[in-house]
């Protein structure tokens, strides 16, 4: 056994993984005690991208579908919650089920006709749908047109009004843990294996009796629901949402985080999102390089993808 294999098999042992996860979680939970608002907001931003990346990972990573419009899923959740709270004075927590239902309905409408086709077509349709959502939001009165929805009231949780960044840090940390658990549960289920089968070879999967269209639709809807819920929380954290937050760049960012980290591998996706959100911040205060950090970031991304096309922490084929 080579040293490299020995290290990786050691890293993949259950006990080490559990211990490392627990240590990491404890560290993240204690972090706000010794950092200020600014760093908490940066880490919050990383959490936010993790949630989006984990949602998209089900579509892109697990099922191999190419979705270029993930921003629309998260916009639907954000606007649903925003409108219900702002215009109809709903309680935030009551808007979550509605957000989920609307995510399901919209993704079924988009997914049903297009998922019967091969993935390239889906890329075009999702891209178009994302633009439709954004431009609709920019022109409707109920979505606040270009201004968007502003001054969305903050929710309360067991009597605590969620105002401070520290509150949101913990809310999003809990969400990340929930999303990771959901992701692992899906991956290790019969459904998850069917998705992997579709991703690796759709024809073979169909020949073996996997209802590919249906499973692809499930994956697509599930990804949309996770995106919608993220959007709902985003709306109340930011207290203002506008069409500019849901443009094509946002979809690209999330997809990039998934591809960068390693499609289909949960720790890889989380790492990719964290890298994506945190890297530009690290370089901020370095003179000269600080001003050109995005250039370096882009070059680094290209280097990573040429050197490790499977991502930073890819799934090992078993």
């Amino acid at each position: 056994m080579k040293l490299r294999d020995r290290i990786s098999s050691w890293l993949e042992s259950k006990f080490i993984q559990a211990a490392a996860s627990a240590a990491l979680l404890a560290f993240m939970a204690l972090l706000p005690l010794f950092t200020d608002n600014y760093y908490q907001n940066i880490v919050w931003n990383a959490f936010f991208y993790m949630l989006l990346a984990l949602g998209l990972n089900i579509i892109v990573g697990y099922c191999g579908l190419c979705d270029l419009g993930y921003a629309s899923k998260f916009a639907i959740g954000a606007y649903t919650t925003g409108i219900l709270i702002k215009t109809y004075h709903w309680n935030f927590w009551a808007t979550l089920p509605v957000s989920i239902i609307i995510s399901i309905v919209s993704s079924v409408i988009i997914g049903l006709p297009t998922l019967k086709l091969r993935s390239d077509y889906l890329a075009i349709v999702t891209l178009g749908f994302a633009e439709i959502v954004r431009i609709t939001a920019r022109n409707l009165k109920i979505t606040g047109a270009a201004t968007g929805l502003i001054a969305i009231p903050r929710p309360t949780f067991f009597g605590i009004r969620l105002v401070k960044i520290t509150h949101w840090y913990y809310v999003f940390l809990i969400l990340v843990v929930i999303y990771i658990i959901i992701s692992f549960r899906i991956r290790n289920s019969r459904f998850g294996r069917a998705l992997a089968y579709i991703r690796e070879d759709e024809d073979a999967a169909e020949a073996m009796g996997v209802n590919t269209s249906l499973y692809k639709l499930y994956a697509y809807v599930l990804g949309a629901v996770l995106g919608g819920v993220t959007g709902s929380f985003y709306a109340v954290k930011m207290t203002s949402i506008s069409p500019g937050s849901f443009d094509f760049n946002q979809s690209v960012n999330v997809l990039l985080a998934v591809i960068l980290g390693g499609m289909g591998k949960v720790p890889g996706v989380v790492l990719g999102a964290a890298f994506f959100a945190l890297f530009p911040e690290f370089f901020r205060d370095i003179p000269v390089i600080g001003d050109m950090r995005m250039l370096f970031f882009g070059l680094l991304l290209i280097a990573v993808i040429i050197a490790k096309p499977q991502g930073l922490w890819p799934e090992r084929n078993k």
Binding site: Y38, A145, I150, A151, S242, M263, D285, M294, L295, P309
Partner: protein, 387 residues
Amino acid sequence: MHEKLKKTLALLLAALAIASFAAGCGGTNSGGGGGSGGSGDEEEILIGVMVPTSGSEAYYGTDMYQSYMLAVEEINKAGGVLGRKLTLLQADDGCDSNIATSAAELLISKNVDFVVGGYCSGATVAAMQLYFDEDLLLLISAANSTGITQLGLDTCFMLNSPGSHAAVTLADLCKSVGSSKVALIHNGDEYPQNLSKLCEDELPKHGIEIATVQVVDKGASDVSSVVTAIRNAEADFVYWCGYHADGSNVIKQLRQGGYEGDIAVGDGSASVELITACGDAGEGVYVTSPPFVRFAEGGDRFVADFKAMHNLEPGAYATLAYDTIYVLKEAIEKAGTLDTGAVKDAVQNINYKGLSGTIKFTPDRELEISNFIIIQIVDGDFQLVTI
């Protein structure tokens, strides 16, 4: 997906990320007002500056920051405020709501005493609630969507004239050139849409008809359908509500399309870059402009000082930024304390005569007296128009 396709896609996306993110994310800069010297025994007054210094609006944000620096240096040289020096701490809002909240959290975590800045209305709105929750006074120098004051956060003041003032100025201009059918064009962004809506409400009150309202997509190169619509509506005056990059394109194509009536552009396009981008087509175009320093009383001295400090010409929002610091200084001195509540009351009751005009606030914390001026492109340069 095939392996090769995946790799190509990934590379493509990475390239896209460079392009898009060259405009993205923020930076911070801290600096006192140049050679502010030793701070003495007293603690300094820390002023947070939230302006875009990256992205498409970086030019304006940098211009504002440089203006703040000039004002702070002058004040510090003259002995500071309440005997204390002023220090600036800058955070980049990138003209983006996500980055703006990061900037706000950064300023809050550095315990700034006051915040000035705000160029893009959307980004400003996103950060306002955070300042309000921390009971921080925010003086907004440039952003002027009426959506800002509608939030009703009583620690935020808008030092620039809101779009409703631009609509009145436009009505005066139309009357003076004898136009009665106005076509409005905007690009669907927050401020242009807001301005267009305000003009739609205001102009009919002055007996001016709205011929048509057209929307141009941001970055669209061909706007011939809009030109045709405007000609069909027989408008004799066109008002562009958006920013100068798209505005110059619209102006050129209007002229190429044979439109011969008057053209005016809103304050988002008030930049010398409009002149170069339009070329010959720009001759005679009116601008409902924020107080351009060149036409301001005492502006020559300001321009000279600004050039001496930064080796650059001040831009369209330099006067407002400069006045912002002086308004803050006067309010702190009146209050005699740094307490937000007391300074807020002093700002509410201020009557300051600055470079940008008289700064006085309505109970809604908007500017009471319009600071809009009308300028016109004549022989490739701006000229003040008095009506």
